[in-house]
C-alpha cells in the first residue's frame, strides 16, 4: 500500500480555486476496485458482467426510470447551459471534462436517449443519443465513482437537476449488471452481517467502550459512562462506527458521553444498531437503505427508548432526517404496525430523530452545560459544512439551523472562531473530497485532488487568521481530511469534531 503516485495540486494565493483548463481524460486511468463475488452475492447482485450485461443494464435502467421519476426528469431537463461546469470540486481539482457535472450526467443521458426516447430511437445522431458500449459502461464505473453525490452543482443549476441522483442511478444499474464497487459493497455487507460498517462485533465494542470509560475517568476524575444495550434508557445514540475506532472521531464520542453525563440523562448505545452511516444512499439502493435503517428501529423498539439522537455523521443525518420517517416510521410516515408502535413509544415533545448538535445546543441555551472556553484557547477554529447536512437536511426550528447550530456550539465552547470564504461554506460548501463512497485508498488521487477547493479556503484562513483547527460533524470528513491535509502541508492533528471541542471545554461534576 505504498502511497499512490500523482501530482498534488498547488494551493492558490486566495481562498477561491481557479477554474482549470480542460484536460480530456486526465482522470480516466483512475478506477475504483471492483467488488468481488462474496459482497455482490450477499447483496443479491451478480458478480461479473456475463454475456447479457447490456440487456441487464438497459433493463435496470428502465426500472429505475419507472421507479424514480426524478431521474427521468433530470435526464430530460438539462439544456447544457454550463452553469454547473465549474462548481464541482472534482472538476476544479482535476480538469477532467467528464468531471463537469453535465458531462458526467451525459455519460448516462446519451444512453437514455438512445433506448428510452423516440427521437433517440429513430435519429440518434440528431439528439446526441448513442448505443451502449463496454467503453461507456467502463466510463460510468470510473466517473460515477468520481462523484461524491455532494449536490453542490444542483444548487447552481437553473433547473435544479440533482446530479447526485444520476450518480446513484448509475451505481444502482452497475450493481445489477454485476459491476459493483468493492469499498461500498463490502461495507454494505458488513453492516448487515455484523451491525456496523467497520465490522466491530458486540464484544469488541463492549471492550472498546470500557476502555474509553477508564480513559475519561483518568483524564477528568469523573466516572462518565458509555452504556451499551441498556433497556429502558431515555435516549438511544446512533453514531458512525468510526467514532468507536478512529482518531479523531473517538474524541467526539467522548464529547457526546460528557454532554449526556452533564445533562444527567439516561442513554445507551446499541450493539445491534452500532452504525449511523447508511451506504445504501450512496448506491441509490432504496432496499439496502431500508434494511440498514431497520436495524435502528429494531433496536429502538427492543430497548424501549423515548428519543433517538444521531452522532456526527453527514450522510447518516440526511438519511435520518429525510428518509427515516417513510423508511422506518422514526418520525411520521411509516404506517406498518411496528412504525406505529415506535411512534407511540417516542416522546412527541422532541424532534425524532434529533441531531447531537441540536441536543447539545438546546442544553446550552437552557444553561444546563457549563464550559471553560479558555481550555480551547490553543485552537483557532473554522467549521466545514458537510455536504449532506448542508444540502440534504436541516437542524432545529429555524431555516438554516444546520449552518448556525454547529457554529453556535463552537462559539459557546471556544473563543477563537473564523469562517472560511462565503463562497465555500453554507449551502455552497465544498465536499471534503471523500464523500459518497469515495473514501477508499484506491481512489486516493480523486480524494486528494477533489479536496483542493476546500484546502484553498482553509489555507486562506490559516494564513490570514491563524486558523489551526478544522471542526467537523461527519466521520467521512474527519477520515478524509486526516489523510489529505498532510498532502497540502498541514498537520493531521488540525482535524477534529465539534464535540471534541465540547469535550475539551465542558465542566463536569460527579
Amino acid at each position: 500500500m505504498a502511497a499512490p503516485q500523482f501530482e498534488v495540486p498547488k494551493l492558490s494565493d486566495s481562498a477561491l480555486t481557479e477554474v482549470p483548463e480542460v484536460q480530456e481524460g486526465a482522470m480516466s486511468h483512475v478506477k475504483a476496485f471492483v467488488a468481488g463475488q462474496a459482497a455482490q452475492e450477499f447483496l443479491g447482485y451478480p458478480w461479473e458482467l456475463g454475456d447479457d450485461w447490456k440487456e441487464r443494464v438497459i433493463g435496470r435502467m428502465g426500472e429505475v426510470l419507472q421507479k424514480y421519476r426524478s431521474v427521468r426528469v433530470f435526464l430530460d431537463a438539462c439544456v447544457h447551459c454550463g452553469a454547473c461546469t465549474d462548481k464541482c470540486h472534482y472538476y476544479l481539482g482535476t480538469g477532467d471534462a467528464n468531471n463537469m457535472p453535465v458531462a458526467r450526467q451525459d455519460l448516462m443521458r446519451k444512453v437514455y436517449r438512445r433506448y428510452f426516447t423516440l427521437p433517440g430511437k429513430i435519429a440518434p445522431w440528431l439528439v446526441g443519443a448513442e448505443d451502449l458500449t463496454r467503453e461507456t459502461l467502463d466510463q460510468w464505473f470510473n466517473y460515477y465513482h468520481q462523484c461524491s453525490e455532494c449536490r453542490r452543482c444542483s444548487v447552481y443549476c437553473p433547473y435544479g437537476i440533482d446530479t447526485a441522483e444520476i450518480t446513484m442511478a448509475g451505481r444502482e444499474i452497475l450493481n445489477y449488471a454485476g459491476y459493483g464497487q468493492k469499498y461500498s459493497n463490502e461495507i454494505l455487507a458488513k453492516v448487515q452481517k455484523i451491525g456496523n460498517n467497520l465490522g466491530l462485533p458486540g464484544p469488541a465494542l463492549e471492550d472498546t467502550l470500557a476502555g474509553l470509560e477508564e480513559d475519561i475517568e483518568m483524564d477528568t476524575g469523573v466516572p462518565v459512562k458509555m452504556p451499551l444495550d441498556v433497556e429502558g434508557a431515555e435516549i438511544l445514540l446512533v453514531t458512525p462506527s468510526a467514532d468507536f475506532f478512529s482518531e479523531p472521531h473517538v474524541e467526539s464520542l467522548i464529547g457526546y458521553a460528557k454532554v449526556f453525563h452533564a445533562a444527567g440523562v439516561s442513554w445507551t448505545l446499541s450493539s445491534h444498531a452500532s452504525e449511523a452511516g447508511n451506504f445504501g444512499l450512496f448506491n441509490g439502493s432504496y432496499e439496502q437503505m431500508r434494511t440498514i435503517a431497520m436495524r435502528i428501529r429494531d433496536a429502538a423498539l427492543e430497548l424501549g427508548v423515548k428519543r433517538i439522537v444521531v452522532g456526527e455523521c453527514g450522510h447518516a443525518w440526511r438519511v435520518a432526517y429525510s428518509y427515516w420517517n417513510t423508511l422506518t416510521g422514526i418520525g411520521y410516515g411509516g404506517d406498518d404496525p411496528f412504525a406505529k408502535q415506535l411512534q407511540d413509544q417516542l416522546d412527541p415533545r422532541y424532534p425524532q430523530p434529533m441531531h447531537i448538535c441540536e441536543y447539545t445546543w438546546d442544553l446550552i441555551q437552557q444553561g444546563v452545560l457549563k464550559f471553560d472556553k479558555s481550555a480551547n484557547d490553543h485552537r483557532v477554529i473554522t467549521f466545514h459544512d458537510s455536504c449532506n447536512v448542508a444540502r440534504g437536511s436541516r437542524m432545529g426550528k429555524e431555516p438554516g439551523g444546520q449552518f448556525t447550530i454547529p457554529r453556535n456550539i463552537i462559539k459557546a465552547v471556544a473563543n477563537n472562531f473564523h469562517d472560511m470564504a462565503a463562497e465555500t461554506i453554507g449551502e455552497s460548501t465544498f465536499c471534503c473530497g471523500g464523500g459518497g463512497g469515495v473514501l477508499t485508498d484506491d481512489l486516493m488521487e480523486v480524494r486528494v485532488k477533489g479536496a483542493l477547493p476546500r484546502m484553498n479556503a482553509y489555507n486562506a484562513v490559516a494564513k490570514d487568521q491563524g486558523v489551526n483547527f478544522l471542526a467537523l460533524i461527519c466521520a467521512i470528513c474527519k477520515a478524509q481530511f486526516t489523510k489529505v491535509l498532510p498532502y497540502y502541508g498541514f498537520d493531521m492533528g488540525q482535524v477534529g469534531g465539534v464535540h471534541q471541542l465540547v469535550s475539551t471545554a465542558i465542566k463536569l461534576e460527579d
Binding site: A2, P203, A204, G211, L212
Partner: protein, 111 residues
C-alpha cells in the same frame, strides 16, 4: 486474485496485497509484507503486530486506535502510547499498514 511466492509457498493476496487467508501468516510473510510497505521492522514494530494478532484472535477485528495506544503504552512506556508514535512506526497509518503486516483484513469504513 493475485498470488505471491514467499519462501517457496504461493500465497493469495488481494488487490492491495492483504492476505486472503489469515492462516497463511507467519513471520516470513510479515517480513515480506513489511518490505513491500517499505517498513523496517524493529522490536517495537513487532510489539504492535503481535498485539494486533492477539486482539484479532479474541475479537475478530483489529483493535480501535485507543485500545492499541493503551496496550502499547503498557508495553513500551507512556511516551509511546499515542497516535503520533504509531504513525512514526507505520507512516501510512497504524490501522491499515500494521494490519496488513499482521496478516489481518484491511479495516474499512469511514476511517
Amino acid at each position: 486474485m493475485a498470488t505471491v511466492n514467499i519462501a517457496g509457498k504461493d500465497i493469495e493476496v488481494d488487490e492491495e496485497g492483504y492476505l486472503i487467508n489469515l492462516g497463511d501468516w507467519n513471520e516470513d510473510v510479515a517480513a515480506y509484507l513489511a518490505q513491500e510497505e517499505k517498513v523496517e521492522m524493529t522490536e517495537n514494530h513487532w510489539e504492535v503486530v503481535n498485539f494486533l494478532r492477539e486482539y484479532y484472535s479474541e475479537y475478530q477485528i483489529a483493535p480501535a486506535i485507543r485500545v492499541l495506544t493503551k496496550a502499547i503504552a503498557k508495553k513500551l512506556g507512556a511516551d509511546k502510547g499515542n497516535n503520533k508514535y504509531l504513525y512514526e512506526l507505520f507512516p501510512y497509518g497504524p490501522a491499515k499498514q500494521a494490519c496488513k503486516i499482521a496478516g489481518l483484513p484491511k479495516p474499512t469504513g469511514c476511517i
